[in-house]
Each structure stands twice: as C-alpha cells, then as structure tokens.
C-alpha cells in the first residue's frame, strides 16, 4: 500500500518535471521565434522606406541629369525587383532569403552608382530638394544596417537555442526550423558614400 503510494508520487513528480521542461522550452522557443519575426518586420520596414524614397529621388535626378538614363532605369528596375520580393518570417528558407538579399543588394549597388554619377552634376548636388533626399537616403541605409544587425542577433539567439541539446529534439517535434542570416556582401552593409 505504502509502496504504491510512493511509486505514484514519483511518477507524478517525474511527469510534472517533464511537463515543466516541455512548457518552458516550448515557450522560450516561441518567444525567440516571435522576436525574430518582429525584427524581420523592422527589416522589411526600412527596406520599404528606401523603396518609397526612390521615385522621388529618380524624378529629382532626372530634372538635372536627363542623359543618365541608364543609371536611372537600372535603379527603377532594381527597385521593382526588390519590391516584388516579399518573404514571411514564418516561411523563410535559405533560397528565398538569399533571393531577397540579392535583390536588395542589387538596389543598394544601383543607388551607390547613382551617387557616384551625381558627382558630375554640381547644380544637382546643390539643389536643396536633392540634398534632403540624399540625407534621407543616407539615414535609411544606416537604418537598414542597424535593423539587419538586430535581425541577425535575434536569429542567432533563436538558432542557438533550437540547436542545443535537448531542446533540439523538441524543436524538431514542433517544427522550429533554423532561420537564415544576412551575410555581409561586399559593400552591402556600407551606406553608399554620399559626399557633398
């Protein structure tokens, strides 16, 4: 009689221990996952901010440097491509993440080419409207760098947690998958040089 009681008590304690472990691990993974999604939303925000700036920028540059058609078309196309690429924090795969990053990096490249071209047009450079757009673009590139870094930090924390034993077992049961990082492509994390 007493023996069964002890056994039952032990089973209850063990079950409770397992439950607590499951609960805390699962909840911590959910929290980290949410954090990554939140940071990803910020990344998308700042990229959107840049995309919103571009039509204005292109229009302003056109007013002074009509002949730089090639550069301007390059930007417009790169923007269209980057804007068409939307990925969700939930269904991030290495492939679509890479495509997203490539499209955005192409736009970054096109913009820095524009900023080099602009050097040849002193009137454009001294235009108040253009100067303001330049300042906004510079700030946006800075924001992109910051939010990408924040996203990477959050992702790293998440990945580290779901890959560690014994949480990795739970993570595979519940479908928590490793998320991709931003990689520093040459020049992509550096704001285009904006000189006055």
């Amino acid at each position: 009689m007493k023996k069964t009681f002890i056994i039952v008590a032990i089973i209850i304690v063990v079950l409770f221990g397992i439950y607590t472990f499951f609960k805390s691990s699962y909840n911590s993974m959910v929290k980290l996952d949410e954090n990554v999604s939140e940071k990803w939303a910020q990344v998308e925000n700042v990229y959107q901010r840049r995309a919103d700036l571009i039509p204005n920028l292109v229009a302003t540059v056109k007013g002074f440097a009509e002949q730089e058609r090639e550069v301007l078309v390059g930007i417009t196309e790169a923007r269209a491509k980057a804007s068409s690429m939307n990925i969700n924090a939930e269904n991030m795969t290495d492939a679509n993440f890479k495509a997203f990053q490539e499209a955005q990096d192409q736009l970054t490249g096109a913009l820095s080419r524009l900023m080099v071209t602009v050097e040849r047009y002193p009137e454009l450079k001294s235009d108040k409207n253009f100067q303001e757009l330049q300042a906004q673009l510079e700030g946006t590139e800075n924001r992109i760098a910051v939010e990408r870094r924040n996203f990477n930090t959050a992702t790293k924390e998440y990945n580290q947690t779901i890959r560690q034993f014994p949480k990795n077992i739970l993570a595979s049961w519940f479908g928590f998958e490793i998320k991709p990082y931003f990689e520093a492509v040459a020049g992509s994390d550096v704001a285009p040089k904006v000189a006055f």
Partner: protein, 279 residues
C-alpha cells in the same frame, strides 16, 4: 589493444570538444566596435579629446541635465579623437545602444558625436537620433544641423559654439514632445508591505535577543551571538534602505559638480536615424 585505442579516441574527442568550445567563445564574442566605457558617474558631456575647457563642459552639462530633468530626453555629447576606422554613424549608434541613452520606452536619446579634425584626418560630425527622436528630428533636419550649425563653427576651430548651437537646434526641434515622468509616485504597495514586514521582523529579533539576554543573565556567548545577529540584520536593513533611496531615478541635485547630476542613462536604443558630415 582495443581498450587502448578507445582511450585514445576519447582523448581525441575531448581535445576536439575543447577546441570547439574555444572556437565558439571566439566566434560568439560580440563583434562590438570598440566603444569607450560608460563614465561613472554618467555624464552627458564626454570629451575624450580635451578640446573643450572645463567651464565649457560644465555649462553644456548643466544645460543637458536641466533638459533631461524637464523632458527626460537625453542628449549625449561625445568628442573622440580616434574612431579606429569605423564609420562614424555606426560608432554613434553602437555607443548609444551600449550606454542606453534615452528612456527605455521612449527611446528619446540623441547623440552628438564629434571627431575633431587633425592634420592627418578629416573631422567627422554625427547626429544620431534614437527611435523616439526620429519624428521630431528627421534625417534631413539632422543633416541641416550638422552642415549649417556644426561644421561651419568647427571649421573655425570653435568646437564649443558648434556643439552648443547643435544642442539649441535639437532642443528647439524636440520641444514639447516628451515630458519627464513623475517618478516619486511609483513606490509599489508591494514594496511598502515588504518594508513594513522587514521593520516588524527586525523589531521582533531585537526584542527576542534582549529577552534572551535577560534570561541568560550575565549569560555567556549565546546571548551575545543573538545580539550580533540582530545588529547585523538591522545593519543590513538600514543598508538596503540607504541604497534604495540613493538609486532613486530622480537625480539628486548636487550643485555645480560637472557630472552625475542625473539618474543615469535610461536604456534607450538607436535604429540608425540621424545624419553625418565631415570637413
């Protein structure tokens, strides 16, 4: 023989684990830029270059402490002689995050970073806005402050004027956006209850030890020990009381010393807003 090779394998595995462990420490180490240590007591004006005179620093510090007291907005001024090749803006954001300039929920911190011009390197000026300051000081306006208020004065080697003008411009733009919280009202009832219990507990211990002294008469080490414990507890309690009132978030005003007049940085963060320029 089999046993030996097993042992060998285990040893190799252990070595491997050791290496992995250290690699992880190396890789995991934050790639944080070299950010100067937060000064203690915290100051708003941090001149690591000795460009500003002491009285200039005091004047600016006073202005910024007053501004922090009335608006909770924290404006940090940093003069640094060497950025170690980092992008000045990145440096400013990293510094702001590391020191936590601005209040935590409002992110209303702002950094004015200046790297004075030297013979071998050009000067850099940055205004970095915390997330909460981005609306009142958009990048284009920050750029204008850098180009119109700061750099012209810096070109004349008048660093004080440039910084002071920038502060005035920022204060002007941000006016009315934030108000300082009334921190006095924030004592929670829970804390109050705990203090009451702590007081009662101490009184109880003291009276108990007195009783035991009485009972023991001239009684030996037992009573003495009890008394020691009670005075220790009283000391502990008084100590915690002291530290609690000391760390209150309303800065204790201590006249005209040049630092530590505010309650410390609030943990605000920076998202890349602001502008920079060089000369």
């Amino acid at each position: 023989m089999k046993f030996l090779s097993d042992k060998h394998l285990i040893k190799q595995l252990a070595n491997l684990l050791f290496v992995i462990f250290f690699l992880r420490i190396l890789v995991g180490a934050p790639v944080l830029a070299q950010i100067p240590q937060k000064p203690t007591p915290p100051k708003f004006v941090n001149d690591f270059t000795n460009t500003l005179s002491v009285s200039q620093q005091t004047t600016l510090e006073k202005k910024l402490v007053n501004y922090n007291d009335s608006t909770s907005t924290q404006i940090l001024v940093v003069l640094i002689s060497n950025l170690n090749g980092q992008n000045p803006s990145d440096f400013a954001f990293a510094l702001g995050d590391a020191w936590g300039v601005g209040q935590k929920e409002k992110d209303n911190g702002l950094i004015i970073l200046v790297k004075p011009k030297t013979n071998s390197s050009k000067g850099e000026a940055v205004i970095a806005t915390g997330y909460g300051m981005e609306t009142s000081i958009p990048d284009a306006l920050a750029k204008r402050i850098v180009e119109d208020e700061m750099i012209p004065a810096f070109k004349n080697n008048d660093y004080y004027k440039g910084i002071n003008n920038a502060i005035d411009a920022v204060i002007n733009l941000a006016s009315g956006n934030y108000k300082a919280d009334q921190t006095e009202a924030e004592t929670s009832p829970f804390l109050f209850l705990i203090s009451v219990f702590a007081i009662l507990f101490v009184i109880f211990i003291i009276s108990a030890s007195k009783n035991s002294d009485d009972i023991n008469g001239n009684g030996g080490s037992g009573g003495k020990k009890n008394h020691n414990i009670s005075s220790f507890l009283t000391g502990l309690w008084l100590g915690s009381l002291g530290s609690r009132s000391g760390s209150g978030s309303w800065g204790v005003f201590s006249g005209n010393s040049s630092g530590g007049d505010f309650g410390g940085f609030g943990g605000g963060s920076f998202g890349g807003g602001g502008a920079s320029g060089s000369w």
